[in-house]
């Protein structure tokens, strides 16, 4: 006890005594946390050490060197399935093909399931009894059967279709549904597309300035300066000109080419230095900002434990980053250099002489030797594997999206649609102009979740042999036993996808929230 009471009743202090450690709450609070942290790190360290011993006992030390080796694996489909002289199919490129396949089916799946989901969700609230019943049967059936079962069922159903011949169809030559897959006519990006787009963008810059000044004048002087009309007209003219004149932009090819070689010639040490400086500088800046936020007119506010923790955490995290960059993974810098210059190389390839000028083109399905021609200028073809994964994912996910949409619409108070009706809007107009925009805000977060789910569920392609990232990765580690490395690639890839989707959703949400004010 730190005080006693004297005769007059006033407390007399005998000075502060520090409580013993086992009773000191602030010491205990941090002690417990640090003990747990150390225990967690120790467990990880033990496991990693164990894995390393077990793996080297089998003669397969963990490394990433194999990424540049030739793959020699069979890829079902993708942007590159065969090994050619000028374009080697290395392990890393095989994994890249898998990632592109994943992204391809995920992005199209997201779009299609959203469209179906919105339609079904609205039908569930229809005035028509049959519409409500049919859509609720759709939702309840599809969402209560596991998506994997649905995917495999689709594969079984599609596999039982007729053989692929020159005159299979529903509409021979145009729409083909067969054992080997489904093919439709499609529009695709042709040779001149990137030149076309860059030309339009360049030409739009002056137009944009004119538009701004027109708008200003309208604001100042009133009347109508036809800013939008002017912009649209200019756009149309530019598009027509660029359609034919886009080879002019071919000069961009060499420019990107030189950026490629400049980027590629950055020495590794410099890149390491830059990355380290960025990490440390970020930490320093963050701490300065933080301290500024704690500054009051009467000087710096008293910092509590948590404030100190944040600053220490920032320092430790940046030091760790430096350690990883310099010691832990020296290959990271060269990877950044190489992939950066690869990226510019790919862009440079899109421009140049000898290209046709047409930005887009359309084609019907083409067959060769009783198979679909999958890539290049041909119809839009889904292999059975792609199709079964696609149908399974899209129908399953759309049933959840329908429920989300329905919930969102119901969350808009009935007063809103009544008010819209009172203003004389029709039911459809009220839905489009009043209810849906408000429902959008409620719907966005769970919708983002569904988009994440569909992206992650593409990994079920492994059950039907669709060459997405997990399936390709499995083929790779079955070949070279680099399981740990492949799993780390899975993790980084999917976390990147999740982060992208959730940050897009968050941004949209923030926009909507600002609009509200």
């Amino acid at each position: 006890m730190t005080s006693q009471t004297d005769d007059s009743g006033t407390a007399v202090f005998t000075g502060h005594t520090r409580p013993p450690i086992w009773r000191n709450t602030s010491v205990l609070k941090w002690l417990v946390q640090i003990v747990v942290l150390v225990a967690v790190l120790a467990v990880f360290w033990f496991l990693a050490a164990q894995a390393r011993t077990n793996l080297s006992a089998k003669g397969i030390p963990v490394s990433y060197d194999w990424l540049d080796e030739p793959a020699n694996i069979q890829l079902g489909e993708g942007i590159q399935t065969v090994d050619t002289e000028e374009r080697r199919l290395t392990m890393s490129r095989a994994l890249w093909v898998g990632m592109v396949n994943t992204l391809r089916i995920a992005s199209i799946g997201i779009i299609v399931s959203t469209i179906i989901g919105i339609a079904v969700g609205i039908a569930r609230l229809s005035k028509n009894w049959l519409a409500r019943k049919v859509s609720s049967i759709y939702v309840e059936t599809l969402r209560n059967v596991p998506v994997l079962v649905q995917i495999i069922l689709w594969l079984a159903i599609l596999g039982s279709l007729g053989k692929l011949t020159a005159d299979s169809g529903p509409i021979p030559g145009w729409v083909i549904v067969s054992q080997k897959g489904i093919s439709l006519p499609r529009v695709f990006l042709a040779d001149g597309f990137y030149q076309f787009v860059s030309m339009v963008l360049v030409a739009m810059v002056p137009v944009w300035f004119v538009r701004r000044s027109l708008k200003r004048r309208q604001d100042r002087e009133g009347g109508n300066t036809h800013a939008t009309g002017f912009t649209l007209a200019a756009l149309a003219v530019i598009a027509v000109v660029a359609w034919f004149a886009n080879p002019v932009m071919a000069f961009l090819g060499p420019i990107f080419g030189s950026v490629e070689s400049a980027w590629g010639s950055i020495p590794q040490g410099l890149m390491q230095l830059l990355l380290s400086v960025a990490a440390l500088g970020g930490a320093v800046l963050w701490i300065r900002r933080f301290l500024d936020s704690r500054r009051t007119p009467a000087g710096l506010a008293k910092l509590i434990d948590d404030d100190w923790f944040r600053m220490i955490f920032a320092v430790v995290a940046s030091l760790l980053a430096v350690l990883v960059v310099v010691r832990g993974w020296p290959g990271l810098s060269s990877w950044i250099i190489n992939s950066g210059s690869d990226l510019f190389g790919v862009i440079a390839d899109k421009f140049g002489d000898g290209r046709g000028s047409r930005p887009i083109d359309a084609m019907r399905p083409t067959l060769s030797e009783g198979r679909f021609v999958n890539y290049g200028p041909t119809g839009l073809t889904m292999t059975v594997f792609y199709a079964s994964l696609f149908f399974g994912l899209v129908f399953y996910t759309s049933s959840f999206i329908a429920e989300i949409v329905r919930g969102g619409i119901l969350a808009v108070p009935a007063g809103q649609s009544e008010a819209a009706a009172a203003l004389g809007l029709s039911r459809g107009q009220a839905l489009r102009k009043v209810v849906l925009p408000q429902a959008f805000r409620v719907v966005m977060p769970p919708l983002g979740n569904q988009y994440l789910n569909i992206t992650k569920n593409t990994s079920l392609g492994i059950a039907v042999g669709f060459s997405e990232i997990v399936q390709v990765g499995q083929t790779v580690y079955n070949k070279n036993s680099q399981t740990l490395a492949v799993f780390s690639i899975y993790m980084v890839f999917y976390l990147a996808c999740s982060l992208t989707i959730s940050s897009v959703v968050n941004t949209i949400n923030r926009r909507l929230a600002i609009v509200e004010r």
Partner: protein, 257 residues
């Protein structure tokens, strides 16, 4: 005589210090909520805290049982210093009862369980004993027949009386009230104030944040006026209501009276 001990009668001054705050400072991030508060509450004293919204009344009262942690200065409760010592915190918490504006009854427990929970698990009383005591307290606040209902089934005034009984069940030496009647409909305010007056008459040491000037005039031994995290004026009710010294106090009282 320090600012904390202003306006004490001879008799009062000779009593024991129950709550002593000296130079208490508290920041929320970069916002200073308490800027060096000095207050002393004597044994069996009823002290009413006044002040405009955001002046730090709740923060002060919450620092006294460590719902907020003060960052500078000292708080001593019944001779025990508020520090990081777990034993001191336990001791102070079990000696200080608190009643909230929003009642904060536990909605998943019956009234009886609400009252007996702490005596059983903190004071380690036998359940039978704790229940007998709880029924006695419910008699005292006038709602013994509600013992087996859930808080959601009671009126606001009844809930607040249960909350007072719940605090009293721990047999505290000090009771803190943070605007206990502000969330109540007018017709229920008096039933809660009556219970509080009873308590004061029974000799409980109380620190009360309230805007009920009638209560302050009738029951308070001293009043404290706070503004911007600082104590502006301390005095007896007559002093406050007849001729306050500070301009700010005058202005505030003229607005609410």
């Amino acid at each position: 005589m320090s600012i904390a001990d202003q306006a004490l009668t001879e008799e009062m001054a000779s009593r024991r210090d129950m709550i002593v705050c000296r130079g208490v400072k508290k920041w929320f991030g970069d916002f200073q909520a308490l800027a060096g508060v000095d207050v002393t509450v004597k044994d069996r004293e009823v002290m009413v805290v006044l002040g405009p919204s955001g002046s730090g009344k709740s923060t002060l009262i919450r620092c006294i049982n460590r719902l907020e942690v003060h960052q500078e200065g000292e708080i001593v409760v019944d001779g025990v210093e508020m520090s990081n010592d777990m034993r001191n915190i336990e001791k102070i918490r079990s000696e200080v009862g608190m009643v909230f504006q929003q009642f904060n009854l536990f909605p998943h427990l019956t009234v009886l369980d609400n009252i007996t929970l702490a005596p059983i698990w903190v004071r380690k009383r036998a359940r039978v004993e704790a229940e007998a005591k709880a029924m006695e307290l419910l008699e005292r606040v006038g709602i013994p027949e509600q013992a087996n209902k859930f808080p959601g089934q009671l009126s606001g005034g009844q809930q607040q009386r249960v909350a007072i009984a719940r605090s009293l069940a721990m047999e505290p030496k000090i009771m803190l009230f943070d605007e206990p009647t502000s969330a109540l409909d007018p017709e229920m305010i008096s039933e809660v104030l009556d219970v509080m007056k009873d308590l004061a008459r029974g000799g409980m040491t109380m620190m009360v944040v309230t805007h009920e000037m009638g209560f302050a005039r009738e029951v308070a031994d001293r009043l404290v006026f706070m503004e911007s995290g600082d104590v502006v004026e301390v005095g007896t009710p007559e002093h406050f209501f007849t001729n306050p010294r500070e301009e700010r106090t005058k202005l505030f009282l003229s607005q609410i009276l």
